[in-house]
Amino acid sequence: MGEIKLIGIQKAFGKDVVIPDLNLTIEDGSFTVLVGPSGCGKSTTLRMVAGLEVPTAGQILIDNEDVTSMPSGKRGIAMVFQNYAIYPTMTVSGNIEFGLINNKVPKAERKRLISEIADIVGLTPYLDRKPSALSGGQRQRVALARAMVKKPKVFLLDEPLSNLDAKLRAAMRVELKQLHQRLGTTFVYVTHDQVEAMSMADNIVLMDKGIIQQSSNPATIYHRPQNIFTACFIGTPPMNIFENGLENVKFGARPEKISLEPIEGQAFRLKVDVSTKEMLGAECIYYCNSKLGQIIIKSPDDYPQKELMGYIAYKDLHFFDADSNRIDINDQLKADLDRICD
């Protein structure tokens, strides 16, 4: 088991309120990713679950047990830090063993666990090495092994891949996902990288300024963003948002959902002037001007023309009210769109 409930959590550093009021349930066995721009409170939230920060108000429950004022070591959790935080003076096996010694695991059992874990993460040849003699990826594995060996109810991971190079990061993403499937434990993962969030999460919790903007699975967050912040945060390049054109309603379309060839069914048409084009091989990114403002289009095809027509299917259009919240398309909006269509 490893269900986490945050109830009415508030966190302030002095007068600075980082998290005003947070309510969140993280399901047992899920891979939940807290994502958001820096300073959005995602790390603070994780650290409160870990017990490294104390909430100003509110309750934290793990498996319905109130752990708000319980010391970190007693919560049945393990954490992987961004800079790994492995004990620099201990060997690899010393690092893995430390938590077991503290939890009074007998020596024979400790030995068995260390060799078992080292085998899983591929550290067996390095058990007697000091961390200074390991590569970044190996240190990462030590941090993982140290967390896993305690058999925690919950894994907390604070940007664990950001110190690795791009190639290793992609490989570790897959490994972590496999590790999660294998262990079946709750994973709570903090990142500012939307690609990591989309590729690994069962559930994405997108935060901004200490407030949850949307909490849903990756497909929903991509296809049905709840508000403009979510719409623009997920996806590269971000969603085009047209602020004028419709009265009191903003609407948007993802760059990859704008076709430069006529499409079947009802579509919104827009004339665009290409100002810059980036050829990326598999795709081209067009930076254009239109009567609705600047617009970015991603297309697999390379068009030499300067003047193009963009086609957007109505189902790929997203509408937001004056408060930036999602609204569904209706006949009135369709009529308005027809009016401004090129």
Binding site: S72, F81, N83, P88, F98, N102
Partner: protein
Amino acid sequence: MKKGLRFNLRGMELIAPAVLVMLVFTVYPIIYLIIGSFRSGSLIAWSKAGGALSQIQWADFKNYEYLLANADFGKIVGNTVLYVVMLVAGRIGCSLLLAWWLNSKINKRLSKTTQAIAFMPHVISLVSVSMVFMWLYNKDTGFFNSILTSLKLPACEFLDSEGTALISIVFVMLWKSLGYYTLLMLAAMQSVPKEVYEAAELDNAPAWRTFLRITIPCISPTIFFTTITATINSFNVFDVINLLTQGGPINSTNTLVYYIYSMMFKFSKPGVGCAAGVILLAIVGTLTIVYFRVMERRVHYQ
């Protein structure tokens, strides 16, 4: 290898000033000290002889024989070693504990204030400190004894008793230098990443084990360095003894450097003083080598 051995004129020019300073202020005094330890005669005879070799009276090994035959000298070496051991242990132990406390999750202002208070004695002149402690330690009118008597406890003689004089002096020097060593230890502790401590917290480590298994090994280079400097520094104790006890009572606070000074300027036996100086040099030199050899293996350098 060939290149390393080749005589490099430009290189020699560049190190010449530093070498000159070392020759004049370090090498020459050491040679003079060693030669002096084989001379006899008084200070006046020495100054009359000047640098003229023909006028120098040689004592051969008589100065060393004098020291070895002299029971007082054995006691003085013993005093010095006892003083060094107590003071170095006190400095390292107390500064570690104080720095640990200051580095824990205590109030920032309390930490800063404590650091300032602890460091203050370091910048006060030793003469003033000695004056203050003379009064504090006074067996009739002193502050400590007035407290002891008001608590109906027996008074202590502090500097006036053979049994307590040396430890009283150790306490003065410990009090004076504690802030300095604490600052060194604290700086080292603060350079340990905070996440390492947090990881230990998550690993359910009791505070004492975090201290022994993480803090101490991580700052071992600093502990190593301070132990060496504190040891050498304590061996050279002179001024506080000259100010507070002049080696008394009954030689109980007489240490090597104070003995050298007494031989030179009180008893006008410069040869004996030089011989004692050579012995001090040998002790401190050996200790430094031993320290580097033994501790280098156990110290963790990041």
